[in-house]
C-alpha cells in the first residue's frame, strides 16, 4: 500500500505544455478511473495523479499521451509522506501561483468527491481538505485581495462594510473595470449604471449586470445616486471632473480609476467624503497584501508540517495494526474457550459476572502493550515490536494452524 504522486505544475511546466494536459472534471475522473485506485487533480496550474497500487509507468504514459510528447524533464514523482505533504500544501494554497488563493481547495474537493478512492487515498484527501480549511481559518493567508479587481472590491468594503444594496456606476467597458464590477456584485453591490461612449456596448453590459445603460454625458447627473464609481475607459481626456460630484452627500462616494490615462479628476480625492484610488494605488495595495500573504504563508507551512507528521504517524501505526488485532483475537479466543469449560456449572447471573470480569482483565492487560506498540510504530520500531509480539504469543503459528 504505497501512496504515489505523479504530476506537473506551473513550477516546472510552461503554459503551452500545461494547457495540453489540463482536463475538465469529468475527463480527469475518467482518466483516474481508467488507472484504478487513483484521483486526478487537474487545474490550469497543475495536473497531478495520486494513486495507490497502480503501475507508475501507466500513469506516466497516460500523461505523456495527453501532452503528446515525453515528459521526462517536467514530471515530478513523490511517494508516501512526501506525496501527502505535497497534497496538503496544494490544498492549503501554498503551492499556488498566488499563495493562499482559495479556489484550489474547491478543486481538490471536486476531484476527491468525483472519484471513488480506496482507504489510503480517501484518508489522505480527507485530511488534505481539513488542512486547507484549518490554514484558512487559523491564518490570514486567504483574506487579502490578490488582484486589482479584488482589491477594488475589498477597498469599497473597507469604506462601506457590507456592500449589499450599495449602488455602483461602471464607466467604460474595459476588462479590468468589468472584473472589478463583477467583484463588487459578488459582494452584494448592485451595478446600477453602465456608461460608455458606445451606448450599444453599454446596453450589452447593462443586460449582463442588470443595470441601466448611460451615455457618458449623463454621468454627472447620476453621481448623486451611486456609492461606488468604477471607471476604465480608453478616453484621452478626463471623464468625471471634481465639479461633477454632488457637494451635499450624507454617504461616502468611492471612486476607482483603472484607466490609463486616468478618467477621473485627481481633485476628487480632496473632496469631503470622497475616496479616489487609481491603478497605481490599487497595485500598491495588492503588492502590500501579497507580502502579507507571504508572511502568513510561513505560519501556514507550520500547520501543514504538523498535519504531515500526523499522516506519517497514522501510516506508521498501520504496520502494527495487524499484530495488535491478532493479539486481541488470540486473547479473546482463549477467554471464550475457558469460559466454555465452566458453562454448565453457573447460573446466568454468575455467567454474566464472569464474562464481564474476564473481559475487563483482558482489556487492562492488553491496553499497555497496544499503546506501546502504537508509540513504537511512530518512532519506526513498529515492525520489530510487531514481530516480537507475534513471536512471543505464537500468533504466526496460530495462523498456520
Amino acid at each position: 500500500m504505497t501512496l504515489t504522486l505523479i504530476g506537473l505544475s506551473h513550477h516546472v511546466a510552461p503554459v503551452e505544455l500545461r494547457e495540453r494536459v489540463t482536463l475538465d472534471l469529468p475527463a480527469a475522473t475518467a482518466l483516474a478511473g481508467s488507472l484504478g485506485d487513483a484521483i486526478c487533480l487537474s487545474t490550469c496550474n497543475r495536473t497531478e495523479l495520486y494513486f495507490e497500487g497502480v503501475d507508475e509507468r501507466r500513469a506516466v504514459s497516460a500523461l505523456q499521451q495527453l501532452a503528446g510528447e515525453p515528459l521526462d524533464g517536467v514530471l515530478y514523482r513523490l511517494h508516501e509522506d512526501a506525496a501527502a505533504l505535497h497534497l496538503f500544501r496544494v490544498a492549503a494554497g501554498l503551492d499556488s501561483l498566488v499563495p493562499g488563493e482559495g479556489e484550489i481547495l474547491g478543486q481538490v474537493r471536486d476531484a476527491y468527491e468525483a472519484a471513488q478512492p480506496g482507504a489510503l487515498l480517501d484518508r489522505v484527501f480527507r485530511q488534505a481538505l481539513g488542512v486547507g480549511k484549518r490554514v484558512r481559518s487559523e491564518t490570514a493567508i486567504g483574506e487579502s485581495p490578490a488582484s486589482v479587481s479584488s482589491a477594488a472590491g475589498a477597498l469599497a468594503a473597507q469604506v462601506f462594510g457590507d456592500l449589499a444594496g450599495r449602488r455602483v456606476m461602471l464607466i467604460g467597458a474595459g476588462r479590468i473595470g468589468e472584473l472589478a464590477a463583477a467583484n463588487l456584485a459578488s459582494r452584494g453591490a448592485q451595478i446600477a449604471y453602465i456608461a460608455n461612449r458606445t451606448v450599444d456596448t453599454a446596453h450589452e453590459l447593462a443586460h449582463r449586470f442588470g443595470g441601466d445603460a448611460l451615455a457618458l454625458a449623463d454621468i454627472a447627473s447620476r453621481l448623486g445616486d451611486v456609492d461606488v464609481v468604477v471607471s476604465s475607459t480608453s478616453a484621452p481626456e478626463t471623464v468625471v471632473q471634481a465639479g461633477d460630484v454632488p457637494a451635499k452627500r450624507r454617504t461616502p462616494l468611492f471612486f476607482i480609476d483603472i484607466a490609463v490615462p486616468r478618467d477621473l479628476d485627481s481633485a476628487i480625492a480632496k473632496l469631503d467624503g470622497c475616496f479616489l484610488y487609481d491603478i497605481d494605488d490599487l497595485e500598491a495595495v495588492v503588492a502590500e497584501t501579497l507580502s502579507g500573504r507571504r508572511s502568513e504563508a510561513a505560519r501556514a507551512e507550520q500547520l501543514v508540517a504538523e498535519e504531515a507528521e500526523r499522516f506519517r504517524s497514522w501510516r506508521a501505526s498501520l504496520d502494527v495494526v495487524p499484530a495488535i488485532a491478532s493479539l486481541r483475537a488470540r486473547a479473546e479466543e482463549i477467554r471464550s474457550a475457558e469460559l466454555a469449560k465452566v458453562d454448565g456449572r453457573m447460573t446466568a447471573d454468575e455467567r454474566r459476572t464472569l464474562e464481564s470480569v474476564t473481559a475487563q482483565i483482558l482489556n487492562k492487560l492488553l491496553h499497555l502493550p497496544t499503546v506501546r506498540m502504537k508509540e513504537a510504530a511512530v518512532s519506526s520500531d513498529g515492525a520489530a515490536y510487531a514481530d516480537a509480539v507475534r513471536h512471543l504469543f505464537g500468533l504466526d503459528e496460530e495462523n498456520k494452524r
Binding site: L155, F275, V285
Partner: protein, 253 residues
Amino acid sequence: MVEVFFWPALLGYGEAALAYATVRTSRAATWGVPLGWLAQTALLTAQAVRSDGFPWSTWAGSLNLFVWFVVGAYLIWGCRPRFRLLGLSVMPLAVALFVVARIGGGTGAGGSSHYGNLFLILHVGLALAAFAGFTLAAGLAGLYLWVERRLKRRSADILRLRLPPLASLERLTWRTILVSLPLLTLALVIGIVRQQRDGGRFDALEAVTLLTWLVYGAFLVFRPTGRRAAYFALGGFVLVIVARLALAGSHFT
C-alpha cells in the same frame, strides 16, 4: 479581602492592553478583557456587600465604577480582533484609571456616603454609565478619523491592518451616543429633582454636564455624518473629561 479581586482584574486588563499591540496577539486580548471585567465585577460586588451605603461616592470610588462601565461598554460594542486599535486605546486607559482608583483608595472596602443609596445608585450610576458610553464613542470616532485619513491618503497597507469599515465605526458611534444620552438625561433629571427638594447651589460640574448633554443632544438631532460626526463626538468627549476628571471631586462634598 475585597482587594483580592483587584489584581486579577488588573492582570486581565493589562494583558489585553499589551496583547492589542500587535495583530497576532490581539486574539489573546479578547480573553483578557472579559476575564478582567469579571474579576472587577466581583470586586464591585464585594465592595457593595461590605459597605453600609453606596461605596463609590468618592472620587476614586466613582473612577473604579467608571472603569467597569467603560470596559463593559467596550465588551458589548468592540471586543473583537478587528477592533484592535479601539482596544489599544481603551484598555491602556482602563488600566491607568484603575490604578489611579486604587491609589486613591477607591478599590477597598468601607467607603460610603451620607446620601441616600437609591439616589446615588441611580444618579451616579446612570451618569457614569453615560460618560463611559461617551468615552467609547470618542474612541470609535478617533478610530474613524484614523481609518478615514489612511483611506484618503491611499495607504498601501490599509487592507493588511484589518481595520473595521468606516460605515461600521460611524454606525457604532451613533448607536453608543444614542444609548448613552438617555442615561445622562435620567441622571440629570434625578439630580435636579433632588436638588430642588433639598436645596443647594448649581455647581460647575452640573453646568459642564448640562453642556455635554446639549452637545450630544445636538449630535442626535442634526445627525452629522463622516468626519463631522467624529469631530462632534470628540468635542463632546472633551467636556466629559472636564466633568469626570477636573470637577467630579467637588460635587458630593
